[in-house]
Amino acid sequence: MLEAEGHQVERVYLPQVDHPDLLFQQMAAYRWVDLSAADRVICFRPPAHFISHPHKILWFIHHIRVFYDLWDSEYRGFPDDHTHQGMRDALVAADTVALGEAKRVFANSKVVAARLKRYNGVDSEVLYPPVFAPERFHCRQFNDEIVYVCRMEHHKRQHLLIQAMCHTKTPVRLRLSGKCGGKPYAQELRTLIKQGGLGKRVILEDRWISENEKIDRLADCLAAAYLPLDEDSYGYPSVEASHAGKPILTTTDSGGVLELVQDGINGLVVEPNPVALGAALDALYRDKAKASAMGGAARERLSALNISWSHVLQRLLA
């Protein structure tokens, strides 16, 4: 996109391994990267923000979260002791300095912007990442199928939707499309489908889904589901569905997705349990006119939030 605007662009893609004991050594490595040949640098994932450059722009997509918001969670993976507390304090201090060096700080969501404010005292502008070539997505019809096109992972909660299908009273169908992250979860999903006797109404496509397949699924479906557990950003699946003019089904605890989806306007936001989700699936099936209206509103919502490449370029190069 930057090239289309007439700029010369190089992508610098450097290695990084997640391990607390290797953290500071790798931060130093990034600090020593010399990109003085470039007029501007735009940094995304940590520790890229440690790169030193006179015109550094950060489009911050997350902290090293185990030292921030995930400290008090099962994901931390190391003890809450003096050593690691010291690491955390040093990391926060270094992050704050690196953030302060930037000409501009953008965040990819309100959630991340709030964390930057809370932990580092840094103000940032929310700049929502658009999807690649959004004009590829389109709407062909509203069939009887709710699609969930996404990697299958436990925290994406495909299982909740299968359980919800047991509570539906209409012939609504469900299609789960995406490569499964691990064998046990794939097995769990298959077992749930079998136990629920849902073999005819739930399609499980556990494989890599091509872009064209994804476009077709979204063009034909009734609605798209996206219900990750407390995600930072709105997630590409929900934006792709919006470009296809389809309503989005999500849950009250899905985090950043709620920045995009407004209940009853461009989708449905329900409690994260099978009964509530089942009722929502039925509601979409029963009132296709409403589903279609919400799909139209989903497209409009993208413009309202300025989710477009032209806006991104204008802000990044401002």
């Binding site: 610098v12 391994v17 790798q26 130093a28 490595a29 020593w32 990267v33 010399d34 040949a37």
Partner: protein, 345 residues
């Protein structure tokens, strides 16, 4: 296997090493492996920032790669338990270019310390290697001389041999490739004034600097050679370049002391073309054998003129040299599949 090709990156610069890395990756994938290129930024000016960039490379952590194939300094300093070198060149300013008085490193003790630092880091890194290959005998000799490490020569194959099937022995001598003072295309133009009137010359390729092109244009004009010398001084599509090679009577390539055989000579030999070079062209003479695969002249206009005339006036001879050049090239057995096999053996 998962194989990471590790190369330097000079932001916004793309050259032969970058092309080599791309084709190495492509051929690794064709051989059934997974492969990615890791390009590590390196800025050699100011020289005093070289040490921190060496530390940078050393401090990076790699995961998820079974093997590393490293090409250039300082990217090859990267730590990995199974690292193979395919050394294109070391940081020559710290070695032979320093000896030749062409180094960007500071004079005196600061520069001495920098060179010691680079040599020590290189030695440590070469010591970690599973295997060291060099892209030419010259690189190998330097490594032996300055660092005391042995290596095997693994010449880079040409990337698109299918473009060079050869063709009719034409009526012009072709000089292709980058245009600059070191490649001495000007000597060929100067030779034209002593060559037989039947000799035609085509020079085509991208000039390094606009001045390199201007110099040749001015020379042709001064000698009044525009009816016998054709200049096509720009970046050529590969197909255009290949058409010039395939239709030539002979290919002239006379760089000063080149490290390797040179793509220009390798492509000409693939196309079965007679070669013209000079006694001081270094590695190129590995393919150009006098009166066998072509003619080796002294690096001066008169001697070159004799060679150009001899080849232009006797097409049979040109065709025979060309066939011998192709045979010699094929005997060297330099192909991507063989190269990949050697690198992974």
């Amino acid at each position: 296997m998962k194989i990471l090709v590790v190369n330097n990156m000079a932001p916004f610069v793309w050259g032969g090493a970058e092309e080599l890395a791309v084709h190495l990756r492509k051929n690794l994938i064709e051989a059934g492996h997974e492969s990615e290129i890791l390009r590590i930024p390196f800025q050699w000016e100011p020289a005093l920032r070289i040490p921190s960039q060496m530390m940078m490379v050393r401090a990076f952590e790699l995961s998820n790669a079974d093997r590393v194939i490293a090409l250039k300094f300082p990217a090859y300093l990267i730590r990995h338990p199974h690292k193979t070198f395919w050394l294109l060149h070391q940081f020559r300013q710290a070695y032979d270019l320093h000896d030749a008085g062409q180094s960007n490193l500071p004079e005196g003790c600061e520069g001495d310390e920098l060179r010691t630092l680079i040599r020590n880091a290189d030695n440590e890194s070469f010591g970690e290697a599973k295997k060291i290959f060099c892209n030419s005998a010259v690189t190998k000799a330097r490594l032996r001389k300055y660092n005391g490490f042995d290596a095997n020569v693994l010449l880079p194959p040409i990337n698109d041999p299918e473009l060079f099937p050869g063709g009719e022995t034409g009526d012009y001598i072709f000089a292709g490739g980058r245009v600059n003072g070191m490649k001495r295309q000007h000597l060929l133009i100067e030779a034209m004034q002593y060559a037989d009137k039947s000799v035609k010359l085509v020079i085509a390729g991208p000039p390094d600097e606009p001045a390199d092109a201007a110099r040749l244009v001015a020379l042709v004009e001064k000698l009044g050679m525009d009816d016998r010398v054709q200049l096509d001084l720009c970046f050529l599509p590969r197909e255009t370049y290949a058409r010039y090679v395939n239709g030539a009577a002979a290919v002239a390539y006379l760089p000063f002391d080149e490290d390797s055989l040179g793509y220009v000579a390798m492509e000409a030999a693939t196309a079965g073309k007679a070669l013209i070079s000079t006694t001081d062209s270094g590695g190129v003479l590995g393919l150009v054998r006098d009166n066998e695969t072509g003619l080796v002249a002294a690096p001066e206009a008169l001697s070159l003129a004799q060679a150009m005339t001899a080849i232009s006036q006797n097409r049979r001879r040109a065709t025979d040299y060309g066939a011998a050049a192709r045979e010699l090239w094929l005997d060297l057995g330099i192909s991507w599949p063989a190269t990949i096999e050697a690198l992974l053996r």
